[in-house]
């Protein structure tokens, strides 16, 4: 009933004349906009810019790995003293991997992905006029923007950006003398991260309250599309886990600046005995991974939700096992809080604890497997329409399988002894949460681009973009498994000093060129994206013949999303190719009374009156047939 009340409130609010209240100025329309659709676009564009930046960083360090003893004068031109004599310095190499990881994990795949699609889709798919708190939503973006600027500004610091790895384990990150990047660069990293977490919390609280309180009439939780479920659970994870990282980060700031010893003990640095006593570096790892592991699900769950939706729409089939999909998302969300220890099997943590974390970790593979099988079952006997979004969703499933399976190795404490921190890990997480999540995000961009920009993206460039990126990502990450199995550690500046690693140099050259190819393919996306914003083909209201509510909203963006009353929801989001209906889709706002020929008894499980009507109608039909 509460949903009904809120909905009425929304209507009244709108009719009072939202547009008359405050003048639409340039500043409040295009900069400090409080409209969720516009904030979504801000998140997306910032996320894409950050993604390109992080991608360039990765290509820089790939050049170093492929050609460790060649010089490239253009690197000195580009990077100055970070790359003296045409070679990236060892310190700056560490900065590159650190900032590449940080930007990709937090700024692209957390804020860029959830920020964009939670903002765009939650109000439009649950049928709300805007977020629960549009002002806080705007703040969320601007905190994120500030965090991005601070993070990027660390490249302007003399000693370079943070360089202790994206996990910033102390004491390396806590002692400015341990490496140049632990000076000012690390300070900026920490400031940026605090701003970022504030942004995530404001966003997350908004997403949760919008989903819980502002659904339109008829939209009960079990009628929500899987995108909304995924984004909702993601927001819950974020709200519960990000504060723990703040705690960890704040204690680290204390250790760095105020001489405390939360994480430091028994340290002799460069021959100098340090005064720290009694702290534990492992404490930071516990705090970090208490966020860090839910974080990887914060990254992948929105991608799962977007892919589920795209797969169903373009297979023209209901998602297989909707309930199982939701329960597995819930299962993953809950379990994700008790598996963080699998990042710490070989830190010297009590071996018994390692055993426990191994059990929880392998349990989480079950809901993941269920999701994969359900996606496959969704494709089975579908009528698959290969839009670029669909291809990216298929790619997402493929990466999730490939990367997920290697997780079974790494989640096993015994195997992790030899695989920990090798290229096997790099291959694993780049496939399962890097490539899979970015493919989910790209599927979302291609699919909802018409909703965001009212124009279509070019399909053929999308195909080109997909195949080059998809093949490129496999060529980059598949061989890395074997490097890891040969004991090649990650974060090594060069493999030249080890006889046993030299044979991987040719593979490294191959990987680098595959990465450059995939990188160039992103230009096709960038061109397509920018060109289509301004000159793309104009879209129709429901270009993909999809069922969800956002496609019932008018093409032109209005404040409040729908003219007049918000549509009422009568059915779930996945009535595709329902037998007995003339079209292969039935939008959520079509009542059962209009689709008598395709109704099934199952549709009326919690609606006895409807079931009675349905039975009467079926009897009448039978009678008609008998008469004929």
């Amino acid at each position: 009933m509460s949903t009904l009340a809120v909905h009425d409130h929304g209507v009244v609010h709108h009719e009072e004349g939202h547009e008359h209240h405050h003048k639409a100025t340039f500043l409040n329309t295009y900069v400090f906009s409080q409209d969720h659709k516009y904030i979504a676009k801000q998140f997306l564009v910032t996320g894409i810019i950050m993604a390109f930046f992080a991608m360039v960083l990765s290509i820089l360090f790939r050049i170093q790995l492929a050609y460790p003893d060649k010089t490239f004068p253009f690197l000195t031109t580009l990077l100055g003293h970070f790359a003296p004599n045409g070679r990236i310095s060892a310190d700056f190499y560490m900065s590159l991997v650190t900032i590449h990881g940080t930007i990709m994990v937090f700024f692209v795949l957390t804020a860029g992905l959830s920020g964009t699609f939670a903002n765009l889709l939650i109000p439009l798919q649950v049928g709300a006029r805007d977020m629960a708190s549009p002002f806080v939503n705007m703040l969320s973006y601007w905190f994120f923007f500030a965090a991005s600027i601070v993070m990027l500004s660390s490249f302007l610091v003399e000693k370079g950006p943070a360089s202790g790895g994206w996990t910033i384990y102390p004491p390396l990150s806590a002692l400015p003398k341990a490496m140049p990047g632990s000076g000012m660069g690390m300070t900026l990293w920490l400031i940026s991260m605090v701003l970022f977490i504030a942004s995530q919390l404001m966003g997350g609280i908004n997403y949760i309250s919008t989903v819980l309180n502002m659904r339109t009439k008829g939209m009960d939780l079990w009628k929500m599309p899987l995108t909304v479920w995924a984004l909702f659970l993601t927001a819950v994870l974020g709200v519960l886990s990000f504060p723990v990282l703040v705690a960890g980060v704040v204690l680290l700031i204390f250790d760095r600046s105020f001489g405390t010893s939360f994480y430091l003990s028994d340290i002799v640095l460069n021959g100098q005995v340090q005064p720290y006593e009694g702290g534990s570096p492992i404490l930071f790892q516990h705090l970090f991974w208490f966020l860090g592991h839910p974080e990887v699900y914060i990254i992948i769950m929105p991608a799962m939700g977007l892919s589920s939706e795209v797969l169903a729409v373009n297979s023209r089939k209901p998602i297989f096992g909707y309930h199982a999909m939701v329960y597995s998302l819930i299962g993953i969300s809950v379990l994700s809080f008790i598996v963080w220890g699998h990042h710490m099997f070989v830190t010297g943590m009590n071996p018994f604890l390692g055993g426990v974390f191994m059990i929880t970790t392998l349990i989480i593979a079950v809901p993941s497997a269920v999701k994969t099988f359900n996606w496959l079952a969704t494709l089975w006997r579908g009528n698959i329409r290969f839009t670029p979004a669909m291809l990216f969703a298929i790619g997402m499933v493929s990466f999730f399988i490939s990367g997920g399976l290697t997780g079974i190795f790494l989640g096993n404490a015994a195997l992790d002894i030899n695989l920990h921190d090798t290229y096997f890990v790099v291959a694993h997480f780049h496939l399962v949460m890097g490539s899979a999540a970015i493919f989910g995000m790209l599927a979302g961009v291609y699919h909802w681009f018409p909703k965001m920009y009212r124009r279509m993206m070019d399909e053929r460039l999308g195909y080109l973009h997909f195949w080059l990126t998809f093949i490129g990502a496999y060529l980059v990450f598949f061989p890395m498994h074997f490097m890891g199995l040969d004991g090649v550690p990650r974060r090594y500046y060069a493999f030249t000093e080890f006889e046993s690693m030299k044979r991987w140099l040719t593979v490294n050259v191959f990987i680098t060129w595959a990465a450059i190819m995939a990188g160039i393919a992103q230009l096709a996306f960038a061109y397509n994206f920018i060109h289509s914003i301004f000159w793309g083909k104009k879209t129709v209201q429901n270009p993909w013949n999809a069922n969800t509510l956002e496609w019932t909203a008018p093409i032109e963006h209005i404040h409040g999303n729908w003219h007049g009353e918000i549509p009422t929801v009568y059915r779930w989001a996945y009535d595709y190719s329902k037998p007995g209906h003339d079209e292969d889709f039935i939008p959520q706002n079509v009542p059962f009374s209009q689709t008598m020929s395709s109704n099934l008894p199952h549709d009326f499980e919690d609606n006895p009156a409807g079931l009675e009507e349905h039975a009467k109608w079926v009897d009448a039909q039978k009678a008609n047939v008998a008469v004929k």
Binding site: N85, P171, N270, V273, P281, K317, I359, S402
Partner: protein, 396 residues
């Protein structure tokens, strides 16, 4: 029209980019010619940035032209009343091609690159880990191939056709139960198997080794300390660390006196070795992949790893037919700029060889350290003389 804009904009961009980049190239050539002449020669392999940027732009223009040709073809087909290019079919076929090429590529990679991975383990517990690995690999590869074949196979077989309607299949609880329970069973097997392997490897009830060795990491090297004749390592305290006593060994304790330092980690074959792991400044990780050994070295948190080397270096060289093979210990946790080159050779030898080697190792308590600690050791006359002169100096 969009295409024309592409050409026009790309051309102007290309000229602009070429202009700017040739400019910087000139600049670069000048500065580096002044600074370092050899760098320019080496850099010649990439013929300059501008060349590559132009290459990309030419590629982009080609893509644009191909796109335009396809569009023209598509439109003429439609004008003639035929069906245009059916992208659904093309993409479906692409999926099938990718599936076949991908299966071939993955198998090639598994065989060729898989063959380049670590040789058989040189330690007793390594066999347990490797058999666990083999089991997991077989199970996951089966799932990998089946699911990928289904994914791209379905994409190919059920590609769009106007004649067909998709099969309405919202759920099937039986199937759902089957594919929840089967992974659960398989994973339970792996968990149980893995748990017991882990318990055996990290056996925490059995803590003593036949040989105790201290391995301490600092930026960017490993210090190795052997226990000496008494078989016991002396305690360390970081506050005692000095340039001559890097580890901060406490010499008030008698056990410290005969400790030895070494450059190579030499281990007797078939004896239980306990490596005590310390770090002085930041976290390092003792990684010896050939023995399937890894444990982080954490400042303030001493840890240890017990294992039994089973194959001597000589035997391994013969097995691998590589006369230069060495077991290695290297750092596997990011620790700073020198992280990538923090290695120690590990040599596994027979008991007899070990005895003769250890006898030749220097004591940790070297002459300089004795001087520093004011140890008056009668056994070494040189020291006593120095001690005397010290006293004399004080007396003045």
């Amino acid at each position: 029209m969009g295409f024309k804009q592409l050409i026009n904009s790309k051309k102007t961009q290309a000229f602009f980019a070429a202009f700017v980049l040739f400019g910087t190239n000139q600049l670069m050539a000048q500065t580096s010619a002044e600074g370092n002449a050899t760098a320019v020669d080496k850099g010649a392999m990439w013929t300059g940035v501008a060349y590559n940027v132009l290459l990309i732009l030419v590629g982009a223009v080609c893509v644009g032209i191909v796109g335009k040709i396809l569009k023209v073809y598509d439109l003429t087909q439609k004008m003639q009343g035929k069906r245009g290019i059916n992208w659904n079919t093309i993409m479906g076929v692409c999926c099938a091609i990718f599936l076949i090429a991908g299966l071939y590529g993955a198998s090639w990679s598994l065989i060729v690159q898989g063959g380049m991975t670590l040789p058989q383990p040189g330690s007793a517990h390594g066999g347990l880990i490797d058999s666990m690995f083999t089991t997991t690999t077989i199970l996951t590869l089966i799932v990998f191939f089946i699911t990928q074949i289904c994914l791209f196979g379905f994409a190919f077989f059920y590609r769009n056709s106007a004649k067909r309607k998709a099969h309405f299949l919202p759920h099937n609880n039986t199937i759902e139960k089957i594919w929840t329970i089967i992974p659960a069973i398989v994973l339970t097997i792996l968990v149980v198997f893995g748990f017991f392997t882990w318990q055996k490897v990290m056996n925490s009830t059995e803590q003593k080794g036949d040989l105790n060795v201290d391995v301490t990491g600092h930026q960017f090297a490993w210090e190795i300390r052997y226990p000496g004749a008494d078989g016991k390592l002396g305690p360390v305290n970081f506050k005692l660390s000095t340039p001559n006593n890097v580890l901060g060994v406490d010499f008030k304790d008698r056990r410290s006196m005969d400790d030895q330092s070494a450059d190579t980690l030499v281990l007797p074959v078939n004896r239980v070795v306990r490596i005590n792991i310390h770090a002085q400044d930041v976290i390092h990780s003792v990684y010896m992949p050939h023995f399937r050994v890894q444990l982080n070295a954490v400042p303030g948190l001493p840890t240890f790893f017990r294992f039994t080397p089973t194959i001597t270096t000589e035997e391994m060289r013969k097995k691998l037919d590589d006369p230069k093979f060495e077991y290695l210990l290297y750092c596997n946790k990011i620790c700073g700029a020198g992280h990538w080159n923090m290695q120690r050779v590990v040599r596994v030898v027979s008991q007899a060889e070990y005895q003769s080697w250890i006898a030749r190792q220097k004591p940790y308590l070297n002459d300089q350290l004795r001087k520093e600690l004011h140890f008056a050791d009668a056994a070494t006359p040189a020291n006593s003389v120095k001690a005397v002169s010290n006293t004399l100096a004080l007396n003045k």
